[in-house]
C-alpha cells in the first residue's frame, strides 16, 4: 500500500499529483501487479481532498490500463511500469552524462542546462500535441 502526499507548490493539481505518484510507484516497483490502492475515502481523508479528485485520478489510471476497479473490493494494480524502462535507464543515463559534459565544455552553467533541457522537453511535448 502506498501513501500519497500533496505539494501545494508543485504547480500540479491534486489530481495530477495522485496520478503521477501512482505512476512513479509503479516505475520504481513500489507497487506491483495485484496490489490494492488506498480506497477513495481513505485518500480523501488523509489528504483532505475532494473524493471526486481521487476518483478522477483512479479513472485515468484505469483508462491507461494500469489499474482495475473491482466494485465493492477496491482498485488493483494490473500492470507495472518497472521492468522495461529501468533496463533502458543505464545507457540513457550514460548518454545524458556525455551530453552534460559537452554542455559544460560549451560554457553552460547548471541553470542554463536546466533551462535548455526543460525548454526542449516542453517544446517536444507541445509538438506531439499539435
Amino acid at each position: 500500500m502506498i501513501e500519497f502526499h500533496l505539494n501545494d507548490r508543485s504547480g500540479l493539481s491534486p489530481y495530477q499529483q495522485v496520478v503521477r505518484q501512482v505512476r512513479h510507484a509503479l516505475r520504481l516497483g513500489l507497487l506491483e501487479q495485484g496490489d490494492r490502492l488506498p480506497t477513495v475515502k481513505d485518500v480523501a481523508r488523509q489528504l483532505a481532498i475532494n473524493p471526486n479528485t481521487v476518483l478522477k485520478a483512479y479513472r485515468e489510471l484505469e483508462h491507461d490500463g494500469l489499474v482495475a476497479a473491482r466494485p465493492g473490493v477496491g482498485t488493483f494494480v494490473t500492470r507495472t511500469l518497472a521492468d522495461g524502462t529501468l533496463a533502458a535507464h543505464g545507457p540513457l543515463r550514460q548518454d545524458l552524462r556525455r551530453w552534460l559534459t559537452k554542455a559544460r565544455l560549451a560554457g553552460l552553467d547548471e541553470e542554463s542546462i536546466e533551462a535548455l533541457f526543460m525548454n526542449t522537453l516542453r517544446n517536444e511535448a507541445g509538438e506531439d500535441v499539435a
Partner: protein, 298 residues
Amino acid sequence: MSAVLRAQALGKKYKQRWALRDCDLDIPAGRVVGLVGPNGAGKSTLLNLASGLLTPTAGTIEVCGGRPAAGVDQLAKVGFVAQDTPTYASLSVADHLDLGRHLNPTWDDALARDRIRRLGLDPKQRAGKLSGGQRAQLALTLGIAKRPQLLILDEPVAALDPLARREFMQDLMEAVAEHEMSVVLSSHLVSDVERACDYVIVLVDSRVQVTGDIEDLVASHHRLTGPRRDPDTLPTGLHILSASHTERQTTLLVRTDTAVHDPGWTVSPLGLEDIILAHMTRPADAVRDSRPALEVLR
C-alpha cells in the same frame, strides 16, 4: 445531473444597500463548492438565503429542488453550519445529539455517536468548555448526522489553528466520500478551496464575478508574456482579465477556450489563486462587458 442550488436574478437588500444582486447560479449535485470573496462581498448573505434564514428581496433561489426552508421535508434536505460554528455553551455534547435527534427526521444517531467517540469528546462536557476545534467538530457532527443532501458551511475553519483546520477538512472530505452529499463552503483561503472543492463561486462587491468547475477554469486561464504590444493588436477569442505593460514587455491574464498558438507569446498556466485574484481585481467596466471582441493575431 440535477441542480442542488439554482438562483435567478437573486438579490438581497438591507435598508439602502444591496448585499447581493443579479446573482445567477446553477450548481450541479455532488459537488463541493467553494464560495470565495473578500469580507463584505455577500458570501454570508448568499449562504443565509440558501439555508432559508433570509428571504430574497429580488429574484428566486432553489435548493435541492425546493424553496429554502419551505417545510419539514425541505428543512431535512439541507444542513447549515453558520459562521464561527455556533453551539449552545451551557448544553453538553450529549444534549446537542439529543436535540439533533429530536429535531431531525433523518437523524443518524449511530453516526453521530460514533463520530463523538472517535473525536474523543466527553458526552458530559459542556459545549462552552470545548476548544474551538472541538466545537467546530461538534457542529460538523450535527450537520453530517442529519444526513442532508446539501451541507452548507459558512467559514467553518476561519477561526481554527492549522492542525484543527486540517482535521476538520479531513473529516468533511471523508463524510463527502461516504454519504454522497453536496457541500457549499465559504472560505477566504484559496488553499482550502483548491484541495477540497471542485467548483468555485467568486463573489466580489455583492456580485458573482466568476463561477464554474475548477478544472475547467484552470484549463481556460493563462498568463501570456511577450514583447510589448498595442492592446488593439491582441488575439481574438481572448477574454482579457488584466493587462500590464513595461517599456518592452506586455503581460496578459486571459481566459480562452482555444489554444494560443501565436509564437510571440510565452504561455504559462495560472493557478487557482491567481485566477481568483485576477477576477477579484478586474475593473468594474470589464465585468459588464464580459467578452470583448478583440482583433485577431494568431
